[in-house]
Amino acid sequence: MIKITLAGVNHKTAPVEIRERIAYPKESLSSAVQALARQDSVLECLLLSTCNRVEILTITSNIHPSPDFFTDFLSKTHPALTSVPLRPHLYYKTDSEAVEHLFQVTASLDSMVVGEPQITGQVKESFEICRKENSVGPYLNQIFQRAVSSAKRVRSETAISHLPVSISYAACQLARKIFQDMSNKSVLLLGGGEMAQLTARHMKKMGVRSLTLMTRDPAKGEPLAAEYEATYAPMSRLDDILSEADMVVCSTGAETYLLTVPIMESAMERRGYRPLFLIDIAVPRNIDPEISRLSNTFLYNIDDLRSVVLSNQKEREMETFAAKEIVRQEVAQFEKWRAERSAVPLIQALRQHTEEIRLAELDRFSRTLDTLPDEARKQVLLLTQSLMNKMLHPTYQTLRNSSNIDEAWEWITRCYGLPPEILSRNGSHEDTSPKEREGKSVLDSPLSDLPLPGEQTC
């Protein structure tokens, strides 16, 4: 029976000091996958390494690798970690729990910022590396497909990814509530702080028409403006540019208000009272809060944006309940597929055993059968075959739907008295190892394609 095991270390179980040492750099991930795939019991494996997590998923036959297997592997592939006890930071999950965890990771439900989209891409990248290293077989392939599909469903069926949870992104999303089309909007960046740069980056992505950067020191401002493909303007042109800008992002180190009510009143008149979105992320603030009383001006300071982010985070957490339900549905689908697949060798063994019995019985009655005319003998042969198939068909169906294939295996062996050699001939488990598979294995075919006798006549 195939065993799925997952072990890992993430931002919830280990501090950054451990995570930064345990993470695999991109260039060494392939060799780590190769090393893992070389382990004796491992049939298939996946290694996921990001700044927040390192996870190892293995497919083995009959036995789950112990947690020590994973800590040993991590220690061996990270010599600097030998002195660090990894076991307390390691989580260890098996079978459907392991699959559910990977699905949740892929759907960004286990991320530091729930709903962030990067993790799905990182899982895809890791899978690609493992595929190139030939450590992916039918099981991992199925797990990966379903993980991506559940991530897609979570994104499309819940609002988890629709609510921005970074301050700069929240500012951009708010802009969309004021302006319909960003392609004809111009943005003024007052000061070149880190947050303003991030906001500028988002604004560029949103496709704003123009960005103007204004700093007190041209030596600082001009290179920054060039970096963001913005136009640099000196502070002396503030009045002119205010009358043209649709959004103003303030993040200077000024101790006083740069934008006051009289300045804004005159600017609003010159700009024909078009709506103006003001974002003040400077501390101390650069924009007089009284400005928010002016018609068609919308002022947000750092605390307001933080409250947007907090409210969105809460909404996202609410959405995780629905998202986890989607993941559970996908896990159930995978388990169904797995049960069907696990039943194949047993069904084949049972079929072979009963066929041997049938042939032996026909042989015992061969003298009598030989006396029959050819047509009648053929009918008798067909009759025995049909009887066998009809009687075994419900058993095959039950095996395919069985949730515990180990139990079913034992039960079938006892009921039908399957000899051990027939089991070993058919394999007591499915060998999914990509290392050993040659050409197209029977396990690569969909279950419906397998020539099961019950399906031919029933």
């Binding site: 004021i178 319909q180 928010s292 018609s295 068609n296």
Partner: protein
């Protein structure tokens, strides 16, 4: 003259579809997550508008003219034109939230249409219904529908403006389109409403000239209609002209559209209740 069973059945079907669309739009807001079948409410709306179109077609055929002479006809045509405009708008601008209001209004309007006992249209002159009068009623009803749409987007504008200023970020906030979109829609609907209203009044004056030899009515009920119409027209003219002044953008324009629709609707109701059959009847 009573409502035909087929027309009644079609109206009932239409109101059922409108109710379905309303519930679907409401659930989109309450459930907060993206709809599983996003086309379902629009499809329900299309179903409703098809049944109502048939009902209106039968009504016009039954009467032999296209004039809207009773409150039930005015309401039916009003809700039909609202839904039709919304379906076009939804296709163009994706203003889904408007569907909640439009289908709510359409449902209650068709319910009222079904509920109102039908009486034969009577004109004080007893004259046959001419083309001019038919055009006048249709244009005024289309003007009312445009004013109602301007009213709805204006209310949404004020709500969003309030949310943005008070930093309220709820599910409803997330569903409202941008202020710029709403302001643009308000501008468009107010303009269209003004054109319909002006043209409607123009046809009424020509009809009056043709019928009575003068453009201004003499009878007291006619005068009431005339004063109401002039009031509405002036308010709408002000809305359109004032928008040219750059100070009256957004919020101010929204207030003007809201008051414009209220005066328009009040005039129609006053006419319906107090004109005693000289204009259109209940």
């Amino acid at each position: 003259m009573t409502i035909s069973p087929l027309e009644l059945l079609l109206l009932e079907m239409a109101s059922g579809f409108y109710l379905g669309a309303f519930i679907l739009y409401l659930s989109e807001i309450l459930l907060s997550r993206p709809p599983r079948i996003p086309w379902a409410p629009v499809t329900a709306g299309v179903g409703g508008v098809l049944f109502q179109s048939l009902a209106i077609f039968i009504r016009f055929g039954f009467q032999g003219h296209v004039a809207l002479l009773s409150l039930r006809e005015v309401l039916s045509f009003f809700s039909w034109s609202l839904v039709l405009t919304f379906l076009y708008l939804e296709h163009q601008k994706k203003v889904r939230i408007l569907g909640l209001f439009i289908f709510g209004i359409a449902f209650f309007s068709t319910l009222m249409v079904i509920g109102i006992s039908f009486r034969a249209p009577v004109l004080s002159s007893g004259a046959p219904i001419g083309l001019l009068l038919s055009i006048h009623t249709l244009l005024i009803d289309l003007g009312l529908a445009s004013a109602a749409l301007a009213f709805m987007v204006s209310v949404l504008y004020l709500v969003l403006d309030h949310f943005l200023r008070r930093k309220i970020f709820n599910r409803f906030f997330a569903r409202i389109p941008s202020l710029e979109t709403l302001d643009q829609l308000n501008n468009n609907f107010s303009g269209i409403g003004f054109v319909f209203l002006t043209a409607g009044l123009f046809f009424a004056m020509i009809w009056s000239l043709e019928k009575f030899g003068r453009t201004l009515p003499l009878a007291s009920q006619g005068r009431l209609a005339f004063i109401g119409a002039i009031l509405v027209w002036l308010l709408y003219a002000m809305t359109v002209l004032v928008r040219r002044n750059r100070r009256f953008r957004g919020k101010q324009a929204a207030y003007l559209s809201i008051s414009g629709f209220l005066v328009f609707a009040a005039t129609m109701l006053v006419l319906a209740f107090f004109s005693k059959g000289s204009h259109f009847i209940l």
